[in-house]
Symmetry: C2
Subunit: 228 residues, 2 copies
Amino acid sequence: MSPRVDNQDSRGNGTRMTDDVLARPANRRGRPPGTSARELELAALRLFTEQGFHETTVDQIAAAAGVSRRTFFRYYDAKADVLWNEFDTEVETIRSLLAGSPPDLPVFDAVRRAVLEANHYRADDVPELRRRMTLLSTVPDLAASAAVHYDAWERAVSAFVARRSGQPEESLYPLVVGRAVLAACRAAYDRWSARADADLTVYLDAALRALAAGLTDDVLGMEPDPVP
Amino acid sequence: MSPRVDNQDSRGNGTRMTDDVLARPANRRGRPPGTSARELELAALRLFTEQGFHETTVDQIAAAAGVSRRTFFRYYDAKADVLWNEFDTEVETIRSLLAGSPPDLPVFDAVRRAVLEANHYRADDVPELRRRMTLLSTVPDLAASAAVHYDAWERAVSAFVARRSGQPEESLYPLVVGRAVLAACRAAYDRWSARADADLTVYLDAALRALAAGLTDDVLGMEPDPVP
DNA sequence: ATGATTTTCGGCACTCGGTGACGAATAGAG
DNA sequence: CTCTATTCGTCACCGAGTGCCGAAAATCAT
């Protein structure tokens, strides 16, 4: 095995949104992992912000995590997949929140509440969230990699709407709702990224309420932006 | 120069949605092009449907158009960019339709009309349209390449809404409308692709009207699908 | 016709992303 | 210590995408 750099040193950034250090049954059989998906993500995030996505090779990310190039591709299928962990878990959160939402709540209200609930972040996590989302929406290759993850979000919402309205999942209106909800959320994300002022959920709420009310001139003529 | 296969033979498919043969000022200076973007698109479409996207190399596409690999990348920046010509011109169509829409027409009605108007296809062109759109939404690499093209569509609508409602283009509601409109159209596309029955514009109209009316339970409880 | 100019094309070499195969390293279980 | 499970590293390979440069093929000027 080749010489490995110190993992702690390679991490550098002290912040971590999830714990994956203590998560080990201790009765694991084979050779212990030399790194983690989270560690690779942090290394990649740091390198991407420092020197750009395209200027960063997979070798550099792997080396920063003290591991070989081949091992990176055992954790992620592609270089552009490395920043989507948090988003994917958020989709799972929304899915379970929707599954447990009260049956008497109107469908779209349930969706709006689930989305807002899934988007409360600890203040310490906001800076990393910002850097990651800026990269994901700015760098073309990363924005392209969003498709499959967005699809999962959309299908989570579509499936819920279909269930609650007694329609097959592939029929038109559930599809429209799923896609439109994500579209509104992405617009809110963008607006929140551009400014640095208000809370993310304020924009999300405003965007989803506009969608619920209908995109007529009445709605469009509202105040230019929600109050911070 | 290497031996070239016959262009006519390589084209094979007789259908063409746009003419690019007679479009030549006749007083062009240098060496005439050995192929065209359209011809490469048709060759790629045929090969993708026959043997799959990932199983088709750029060499094969180029060879089918009677040209070298290097030349392919002078016409398209990437292998996945080869099927987006029609979509991009549709975006331009929508943009100009919106620019010329009557000022007294409600904003969202104008958007809906422009989208419907831009999606009338000649019956002869429908089969190719179907094959292309099925590939673009099915093959992961192609779906990923959609991001930049979708962005152009969204910004065309957002810019119009911002102009008409007197808001800056980056404010929340224009962004929401632009993204949500594309989302609804994509849902309609999917539904139309899945079935093979009705006209595309029927689904587009239904999806956009649902968006205008608001995604409340009243709308969601409508008939499962628009009548063909 | 001949040469200059302009435009497209082909070939070459190179980097990097991504994959399959295989043996080595490191742990616990017996 | 041996067996087994798991992760890792190395190597070899393919294809996408790019920069460079000279050749091909057309028009224009003389």
